[in-house]
Symmetry: C2
Subunit: 309 residues, 2 copies
């Protein structure tokens, strides 16, 4: 079995959408990624940091999903990273209301000894220098490194971001971020420019419009499952990345054909994430529910047109 | 072979996009629909009207594609419908600069005798009363009637529009229009409300994000081919509808499974349309180019995940 190192935030989120409002609940990129990868029974560790205010029940929740949290550092005297946001009516745009870095401000990740030879590294959204520091701690270049990031780091740490992007195999990024990073509107052109920055595989997430996977001249487009009940898009992108990384960790096959399937798994898991607030749906998700939705996903996208090559 | 009646505008368009500007060129819903259906060698007739200013060369162009234009009325003393629009940088939104109805203002469509028993009627974008009048002239209820419309008619003739919508089997509409028509943001919910208005099949076009086909609880999602070079979105929706109708006319199979394929053909043809200004690409499109792009489309969307039912 392939080992998987996940770095990213573990956080408190307070979320407001047209459908309701939460107090501080469990959130963070590494949390969503970890919960998604737990569907694949892989050997995964979260490297992150929380404060003394982080409830033991949340730690237990992650540990009960068989996620190694021995290097999820708890800074007793510190406070957990806190993010608060409000979604607009279309659910595609949001305002950040509060960002309190707290313990993240001086976070220096330590990869557990047992995971320094992990085949896969999933760099969730965090400062690019922190992401790079995880790569630097690996005993050898992982078979597959995947980086997720956001516009925030393009604004304040572009040089560091470009440096770490150069070192990864796969980048997952949303459409607006791809445009910002490259200055190109057409996503095909943006993907080409990102290829040239380093990553052999470029995944562009388009929210309710699905996700695109680019590799040289190959393109794969997995639509998102059309849903009636989208309550909270928070964590959908991280859940996508976690499903993608988890499936690849489980199968150990990093071909384009298999990455297509990984994108489908990522989209499928993300479709669950958005149906409840925060991590609620991901905490209780059964493999049977996932299997059923994958069948739906096949029906949604597969057709038979027979053509001569 | 199934016969196909197409009603819709035949027009002059003047288009401005970030990539260029045209003088008055050939346009109109029925034109784009007709050009798309001509890929399928079906027996199709355009019912429409133009003015004395409409060049013989444009009429020849349509006739040379084996489209019956005997009931494309020429009002010698009148002027052809003229539309002018300017696309914004994102190519997804546009401003209408000029709309001169001209001969359309008093247009009363006449279905050719030979087509009054046509199996398929494609009602392109026009006043809903004109669309209804075409249905009324058919000897019996066609096997399949498809309606395309736009927000303009929702604004000024909603009652007439709802009346004709009630009588058709399929509606093709874009995402914003589906939301306007139903007051629902989620497209799944909007499609359900449109089903309840009459059409058994609802196609929601999402431009660069593809198209959705709804039938009862079945959904199919065909993404749009990601393109580097989108020059002019004019006519893409009509080309989609024409490809959809043309494929169904050719095959005569109106099952959900076959409609999925019709959506794929529609998306494929629309992907050509947007790569040149106006009808330029559609005029010269070869079946070999279409076949190649369908292969691309399969590679773009098809994957193999084997699951027990």
């Amino acid at each position: 079995m392939n080992k998987l190192v996940i770095v990213g935030t573990v956080a408190f989120d307070a979320i407001e959408t047209p459908f309701g409002k939460t107090d501080k609940i469990l959130g963070g990129a590494a949390t969503y990624i970890g919960l998604a990868t737990s569907q694949f029974n892989v050997d995964a560790a979260i490297v992150s940091v929380v404060g003394g205010d982080f409830p033991q029940s949340y730690l237990d929740l992650l540990a009960n999903k068989n996620i190694d949290i021995s290097n999820l550092e708890v800074v007793k005297e510190g406070k957990t990273f806190f993010w608060s946001g409000k979604y607009h009516n279309d659910m595609n745009t949001r305002d950040t209301l509060v960002t309190e870095l707290n313990v993240l401000e001086h976070f220096s990740p330590v990869v557990p000894k047992h995971y320094k030879d992990a085949e896969i590294v999933m760099l969730g959204n965090l400062h690019p220098l922190v992401q790079q520091s995880v790569l630097d701690q690996m005993h050898k270049k992982p078979k597959l490194s995947i980086l997720d990031t956001m516009n925030f780091w393009m604004d304040i740490a572009l040089k560091d971001l470009l440096a770490v992007i150069k070192n990864v195999d796969v980048i997952t990024i949303n459409d607006e971020e791809a445009r910002q990073l490259t200055g190109e509107y057409a996503l095909v052109t943006a993907a080409k420019k990102i290829h040239a920055m380093g990553p052999k595989y470029v995944v562009i997430k388009k929210g309710e419009h699905g996700a695109l996977l680019f590799h040289n001249d190959n393109v794969f487009y997995a639509p998102a499952l059309p849903l009636e009940d989208v309550f909270d898009p928070t964590g959908a992108g991280d859940t996508f990345a976690g499903g993608f990384a988890g499936y690849l960790a489980k199968t150990g096959d990093f071909s384009f054909e298999n990455m297509k399937k990984a994108v489908v798994y990522g989209s499928t898991l993300a479709s669950f994430c958005v149906q409840k607030f925060g991590t609620e749906q991901m905490q209780q998700l059964t493999s049977e529910a996932v299997r059923k939705r994958l069948l739906q996903f096949k029906e949604l996208t597969q057709f038979e047109i027979i053509l001569d090559k």
